[in-house]
């Protein structure tokens, strides 16, 4: 069964460093998303992406964040200068169509630890 994959599973970085989290969505999906979950808290929406551009973003997704689909398969989230509060589990998700009637399938997550 097709699944969303994410790499790395765990990333440790120092405050101020740039990190790139990678995702490979399900191959026939057109909509891509990033969410994050700070330990013990809710899963929060960051950004949605369709047709090579951002469709929607939350207040969390400030200028420090960017997303890119560099080729036909990868979808990346970049944090330019990490802060301690960026430590969280980051989930990539994809859906076949517009999210209203289509399931979103999530990857296993990347645990980001900022020290």
């Amino acid at each position: 069964e097709p699944e969303v994959t994410q790499t790395p599973s765990h990333q440790v970085t120092q405050m101020g460093q740039e990190v790139i989290l990678r995702c490979v969505p399900i191959s026939n999906h057109l909509y891509f998303y990033w969410y994050r979950q700070i330990l013990g808290q809710k899963v929060e929406f960051l950004v949605s992406f369709y047709n090579n551009e951002i469709s929607e973003k939350s207040e969390i997704f400030d200028d420090q964040f960017s997303v890119e689909r560099p080729d036909g398969s990868n979808f990346t989230l970049k944090i330019r200068s990490t802060k301690l509060e960026d430590s969280a589990m980051y989930f990539c998700a994809s859906s076949e169509g517009a999210g209203r009637i289509y399931e979103q399938y999530f990857g296993p997550g990347t645990r980001l630890t900022v020290t």
């Binding site: 989930f91 999530f106 997550g109």
Partner: protein, 113 residues
């Protein structure tokens, strides 16, 4: 603002019993999805119920949706120890653009063998 809120926050049952978890939300929705998360792991999609549906089944799962009460329930029948996980509802706002999901805090289910 819209929220999915599950209750109870934690539920402990014996293997073989049924588990019922509830979710409430505040605004109109297009659909509601339930996810499972094993400790420290990813989110596994369980079931999507659309706003015009009242009940949906999938294996040992039964989901109901009452849009007049803005609530949903997830029933797991004949629970197994492997069902131990956190369960989240996520809503997709009607009129929203690209389907960003809003998650509740989840119900932590513990099934004892």
């Amino acid at each position: 603002s819209q929220q999915g809120e599950e209750d109870p926050q934690a539920l402990s049952i014996q293997e073989g019993e049924n588990a019922t978890m509830n979710c409430s939300y505040k605004t109109s929705i297009n659909n509601l999805q339930w996810y499972r998360q094993n400790s420290g792991r990813g989110l596994v999609h369980l079931i999507l119920i659309r706003s015009n549906e009242r009940e949906k089944h999938g294996g040992r799962l039964r989901v109901t949706l009452d849009t007049s009460k803005k609530s949903s329930s997830l029933l797991i029948t004949a629970s197994r120890a492997a069902d131990t996980a956190s369960y989240f509802c996520a809503t997709d706002a009607q009129g929203g653009s690209q389907g960003n999901l809003i998650f509740g805090k989840g119900t932590k289910l513990s099934v004892k063998p």
